[in-house]
């Protein structure tokens, strides 16, 4: 470390020997860190390493068991998020925390609505302030829109806008880009640089190494709740960081075997969903990974929903292994051998409040583990334990509630739920969202292996590197239509973005 001048101002925030345990897990042990004004401090670590827990302590969401927080040199106790806000500390949580039935403007300014002379909410002013804020982020949403109808990426942007509205001195971002496309992420980065210039200190949690290279001044690594090192950005190579993070070498990405293009598992012709999809036609072959790229709102998730019988199609035909099928309900889709890992863990994935076991077994319960109405509990548990081990879900046991798992481990459980169905056709919507590099490599290897064994995989992803590395072919969508299909050999980021862009002269 470089020698500091003697009278250096105290860092914006100093964490001293912070520890925190939950029943069965020591989430943090003796973590000490510093965040300086006007810098971005990147925080990385495997799923469950304790990143979110540490950030929640800084944001007053949970209290440390021991240790000290010093803000600008003074020891503070943050007993609630409100107390943290009063100190200018704002956190953007890993999972979204918006009220779906309220408008964008109401969500952003909650508790701080501008009032008129009669002390009633001044909606004109409210919308004006929101407009200004959204413009700063170059987000094009009407402030009066109900949050519930927005796609997840835009909700994430709303969440970011809300955090910015606090004009804080310390901003925490817990995987803010995991739901964003590269373009939206770029806008966010511009804002971050701007905030940095204004002297705001930022903790930035991510699993995407490229982002750290672009943004961070310092990078700290957590492993199993311990702080294993901090370095200046650029001092350590990507591989060195990953080694620090996982404590072992990563499996190299299996060079996806060139598709043994089997018979068409899924053939879609002229699929229409009113207002969402138009004339979508494509084929998906057994053993093939078809990547689906596109901007947010391009109809990728809508396509998945239509295939899985969640929305009613107005025209078009779907054939599964050569036979025309209706697929008008999830049951029908599952019966045809389809599986679907949705993009939004919290809203449509996890059964919060239930155990990992109950979350894993649910989709196969009826088919595999029920006899005469009764659940064969031992058989179900054995199968789920095997799956949890295969996916390396990190937990003290399957009876743990799923909300106690870190985000990445929740994602593994959801993937496990569908792998248990042994699907012939697997639809994955952002399968590695919020998953750490090591687990991501594992999941990628698993997907590749599934394909090699003959599963047809439709993989929607906003991460172009993931799409490019994994897919045999890439289908690009734009405004509810297929704008092109690229063979792996000719696909690159530029070609994809060209097909995906809204405006093409």
């Amino acid at each position: 470390m470089s020698p500091e001048p003697a009278a250096a101002p105290p860092p914006l925030l100093e964490l001293r020997r912070v520890s925190k345990s939950f029943p069965g897990v020591a989430a943090l042990e003796d973590v000490s860190l510093e965040l300086r004004r006007g810098t971005v401090h990147g925080l990385i670590g495997e799923n469950g390493a304790g990143k979110s827990t540490l950030m929640k302590i800084v944001a007053g969401v949970c209290a440390p068991d021991s240790g000290e927080l010093r803000l600008a040199g003074r020891s503070v106790r943050l007993s609630s998020p409100r107390a943290a806000l009063a100190h200018g500390i704002v956190m953007i949580h890993q999972e979204l925390n918006l009220m779906p039935s309220m408008s964008v403007a109401e969500n952003i300014w909650i508790r701080r609505e501008p009032l008129n002379a009669l002390r009633l909410v001044n909606h004109r002013e409210l919308n004006r302030k929101t407009r200004a804020l959204l413009d700063e982020l170059t987000i094009d949403i009407d402030p009066a829109t109900e949050v519930g109808v927005l796609p997840i990426a835009l909700r994430q942007m709303v969440e970011i806008a809300r955090a910015l509205s606090y004009a804080s001195q310390l901003l925490i971002m817990d995987e803010p880009t995991s739901a964003l496309t590269e373009r939206d992420a770029e806008r966010l980065f511009a804002v971050i640089r701007e905030l940095k210039a204004r002297g705001v200190g930022i903790f930035y949690v991510t699993h995407r190494m490229e982002e750290l290279a672009a943004l961070a001044d310092e990078i700290s690594v957590l492993r199993d709740g311990r702080h294993v090192g901090t370095s200046r950005a650029g001092d350590l190579s990507r591989d060195a960081l990953i080694r620090l993070m996982v404590g072992r070498e990563l499996p190299a990405l299996p060079a996806a075997a060139t598709a043994i293009r089997g018979p068409a598992a899924l053939r879609v012709r002229g699929l229409e969903v009113a207002g969402e999809l138009h004339e979508v036609s494509f084929e998906l072959h057994a053993g093939e990974i078809l990547g689906v790229a596109g901007l947010v709102g391009s109809g990728r998730s809508e396509l998945a929903a239509a295939l899985f019988g969640l929305t009613r199609r107005t025209a078009g035909s779907i054939e599964v292994r050569g036979t025309e099928v209706t697929l008008d309900s999830p049951q029908a889709a599952i019966a045809c051998g389809l599986g679907f890992v949705t993009e939004d863990r919290k809203d449509t994935g996890c059964f919060l409040g239930l155990s990992i076991l109950e979350n894993l077994e649910i989709a196969v319960l009826d088919r595999d583990f029920v006899r005469g109405g009764f659940v064969r509990a031992t058989a179900a548990r054995e199968a789920c334990e095997r799956m949890a081990r295969l996916l390396r879900v990190k937990t003290p046991g399957l009876d743990e509630r799923i909300e106690n798992l870190s985000g990445g481990n929740q994602q593994k459980v959801l993937l496990g739920r569908w792998l248990l169905t042994r699907p012939g056709i697997l639809i994955l919507d952002e399968p590695t969202r919020g998953v750490d590099v090591a687990a991501k490599a594992e999941i990628h290897a698993l997907i590749a292996q599934l394909a090699a064994e003959g599963t047809a995989v439709l993989m929607i992803s906003s991460e172009l590197p993931e799409i490019l590395a994994m897919s045999h072919r890439i289908m690009v969508m734009r405004q509810g239509r297929v704008s092109g299909v690229l063979e792996r050999a000719v696909a690159d980021q530029v070609a994809i973005m060209e097909l995906a862009a809204w405006t093409r002269a």
Binding site: E95, F351, G353, L354
Partner: protein, 341 residues
């Protein structure tokens, strides 16, 4: 047990705690209340509260009907719903069942040609009416997606109306001895406990139970996982209706008559029993064992106050406080869990 899962990293599994079943807390409340009445009994009236077999039987008898309803209501609450219609359904089923249970001595029988029928006829009639009411609840909720609160509120008002209309407000009396026997002695207690056992098993060990919890925990995820959410809800509400019907049969058998005013506010007592027992109105959480204890708590409070010869007003005040305390405890538990996400 846990060895199947990847062993947690070194140093991480050390703090494995001992977890008590969620019922432990309310069981303690039940015992504390019983002991408090025991103590007050010796101080105020010079008698034991607990060591009086007859009083204990009466105590459980009083709440058996509520308990049976609460078992159905618990399942509805686990799905994230609510059933306000139970009390009115009790009245309607009591009327219908009683009308098929009249003896030939009855002067103005509802069905003069259908008297002295075997006891199964009124029982099945009562259960069938309950099933229909539940079916209406469930179908409204599943098909139109109106909130359960509104759907069952409508059925609550309508069923009470039907109960009055059925005999133009006249009570149905002079019931057969065989029918009256259903409500006497410990029969209702036995039926209550047997029902509890059946649904305890159903919720914990069957597909029906697993799906019920899953729907309450996350309806959309349940749908995507291939659960027929609509038809499952119809089943759950129908079961709740049948149990209300059973409660109606027992109520009329015990009173040896059917009256349109029966079962007033029973739905609230049943919801209270479920909530005291740990069921969460936000869905996904609740157990029959908890509901049984919740029912017993209501029973202890009711008979405890009667035993101490204290005015019924106080009884209601305390009951209300217990319900609110139970919900606060539930919120607190949930908040502690949610800091995890």
């Amino acid at each position: 047990m846990d060895q199947g899962v990847e062993p947690a990293a070194p140093g991480k599994s050390a703090v494995r705690p001992h977890r008590l079943p969620p019922e432990a807390g309310i069981l303690l409340v039940l015992l504390a209340l019983a002991l408090a009445f025991e103590l007050l009994g010796w101080l105020l009236v010079g008698q034991s509260f607990l060591f009086n077999g007859q009083r204990l039987v009466v105590m459980i008898l009083q709440v058996s009907v509520i308990g049976i309803i609460a078992i159905g209501v618990t399942q509805v609450i686990i799905t994230g719903g609510i059933d306000l219609s139970s009390g009115s359904v009790v009245a309607l089923t009591a009327m219908v069942a009683a009308s098929f249970a009249q003896s030939s001595d009855a002067l103005r029988a509802v069905y003069p040609t259908l008297t002295d029928l075997p006891v199964v006829v009124p029982v099945l009639a009562g259960l069938a009416v309950g099933a229909v009411a539940g079916l209406v609840n469930g179908s409204l909720i599943a098909a139109t997606e109106i909130p359960p609160f509104i759907a069952t509120l409508g059925v609550m008002v309508t069923a009470r109306g039907f109960a009055k209309w059925y005999t133009r407000g006249q009570p149905v009396s002079m019931l057969t001895d065989a029918y009256a026997a259903l409500g006497s002695g410990v029969v209702p207690v036995v039926i209550f406990l047997a029902t509890a056992l059946i649904f305890h098993v159903a919720l914990r060990y069957t597909r029906y139970g697993k799906f019920t919890y899953a729907i309450g925990a996350n309806r959309e995820a349940a749908r995507i996982s291939g659960i027929r959410v609509g038809s499952h809800l119809v089943v759950v509400y129908t079961i709740a209706g049948v149990l209300s019907g059973l409660a109606g049969v027992l109520t009329s058998a015990r009173a040896i008559s059917g009256q349109a005013g029966m079962g007033l506010m029973y739905e609230l007592d049943a919801i209270a029993a479920a909530v005291i027992g740990g069921a969460s109105l936000s869905g996904g959480v609740g157990r029959i064992s908890g509901t049984v204890i919740g029912t017993l708590i209501l029973g202890v409070v009711t008979s405890g106050f009667t035993f101490l010869r204290i005015d019924a007003y106080y009884q209601e005040i305390v009951k209300g406080a217990i319900i609110v305390a139970a919900v606060i405890a539930d919120q607190y538990r949930r908040r502690r869990r949610l800091t995890a996400t």
